[in-house]
Subunit: 285 residues, 2 copies
């Protein structure tokens, strides 16, 4: 009795082991995939911010422009590291967990086979028990049934032993794989965080060094115009011309001003875009 | 003429300054808010992973249980820092950018007032021009019109000057605020990343130190059962009992086993939950 009982409990431990692994590893897989997706979305939002910073830089005076571009580049670098993080998480964390699906299915099929073998043992035992009750004197049939029981028992013992080894290997692999997967997770995260500290330290310095004074001088010059605004200029000079062309002349002067600025901006924008393209996502590949 | 032209171009520079600030600062605000929201979602996913790790730890053997719990705690710590990051981004980055909305609206209203004053100057100039063409000999009316033009001009000059200073201050504040806001952004991010490196370094050590051998011994003992499985045990002992009770006895034995384990798990779970509560989100406040 105790052998059959022991085998039964062994099978239950095996089943529990596989079911538990299936449940938890599956959950780890989907949770880590969700974590990775959200991280990719943070990267996307930061990429938009980089683009926006570059656009804005092109509308600013030289000092702020240089500062914002440098900041945008650093922010883009961090996103490159984040992209690398996402790809590494997929390769070294999510993929290995996904592989467990097939592994578990296969192990479950082996357990099912064992259960069939055990069922057969119990069936043979029941048959023998009945025979002993019904026809205790039928030595030949009882002897045949005893042989069947022995054969079924040996089969069950052998299969249980084999499967025991298989489940032990399964458990060992699970433990070492989890150790490896979580270590890889931690390493991947550490690389991102360490690189980000490095890049942001330089970004902080750039922002810290920004002095708005020169840009403000430029701004003042721009606001006070190319015309050299003089409040003291005699009014009579201004009133000698007809009123209507003011706005026209004013507008065309403004257009000229804008035209100049726009050209300047376009050049800046083109070179900034080139910079971005040049740098690319070197880390993504 | 040039004074009016100059004022006109000054107003356009002012308008451009405010419009540009409104557009870009508004976009920065919504992009950084989106970035912060996504970061909060990463935190949520990681929090789920922490819970899952704790649940799983409770089903594992002592060494893996301790390792997973330690890892879950470290992961939770990083999420505490991430929560602090989210809160700081909201306070020190998003809120100041939001405040620009009202500031810009107010500045725009001042520019509108100036444009009215300038319109009046042009109107008075046009009136004077017409008078000079129509009735060049009407000295009194022309003189009155000239006085009106002078008054309107003085008003326009004064208002333009005042607004010029206001816009300069606006631009200065924008530049230094952006410097501060982006520096704060970088600092907040740096703190998270630096703390994460620290916490993950310790998590890495814990995972590295895990040795599955002891857990596997436990597992073997559990799988080979409380019954002390012996293959050599004589079969005759086992065949003397009826077949049906096997499964029943087997099940109750299994229940006993499970009951024991479950009780163990519950204690573990309760204490783990207490740990989590105790630690709380100390960093969130």
């Amino acid at each position: 009795m105790s052998v059959v009982l022991s085998r039964d409990s062994q099978v239950r431990v095996m089943e529990d082991t596989v079911t538990n692994a299936e449940k938890h590893l599956g959950q780890f897989c989907s949770m880590l995939a969700a974590y990775t997706r959200k991280t990719a979305q943070v990267r996307d939002k930061a990429d938009q911010l980089v683009k926006q910073l570059t656009d804005f830089a092109n509308t600013e005076h030289p000092e702020m422009r240089a500062t914002l571009r440098s900041f945008a580049e650093d922010l883009a670098k961090v996103q490159d590291y984040r992209q690398a993080e996402v790809e590494r998480l997929e390769t070294k964390v999510i993929s290995p967990l996904k592989l467990y699906g097939a592994h578990i299915k296969q192990t479950r099929a082996e357990i099912k086979k064992l259960k069939q073998v055990q069922k057969n043992e119990i069936k043979q035992l029941a048959k023998l028990g009945k025979l002993r009750q019904k026809s205790p004197s039928d030595r030949l049939t009882i002897s045949q049934a005893e042989t069947s029981v022995q054969r079924a028992s040996a089969d069950a013992s052998h299969t249980t032993h084999q499967l025991g080894e298989m489940i032990e290997a399964f458990q060992k692999r699970k433990l070492t794989d989890l150790q490896k997967i979580f270590s890889d997770f931690v390493t991947i995260e550490m690389v991102l965080h360490a690189k980000a500290v490095e890049v942001y330290s330089s970004a902080f310095q750039t922002l810290e060094n920004y002095d708005p004074e020169r840009d403000l001088e430029d701004f003042r010059a721009k606001m006070h115009g190319l015309y050299g605004h003089r409040d003291a200029r005699p009014l009579t000079d201004t009133v000698s011309s007809p009123a209507v062309p003011w706005s026209l002349t004013g507008q065309s002067a403004q257009n000229a001003l804008r035209g100049e600025r726009r050209e300047d901006e376009e050049t800046m924008e083109a070179s900034a875009e080139e910079d971005l393209r040049g740098r690319g996502r070197a880390l993504h590949q």
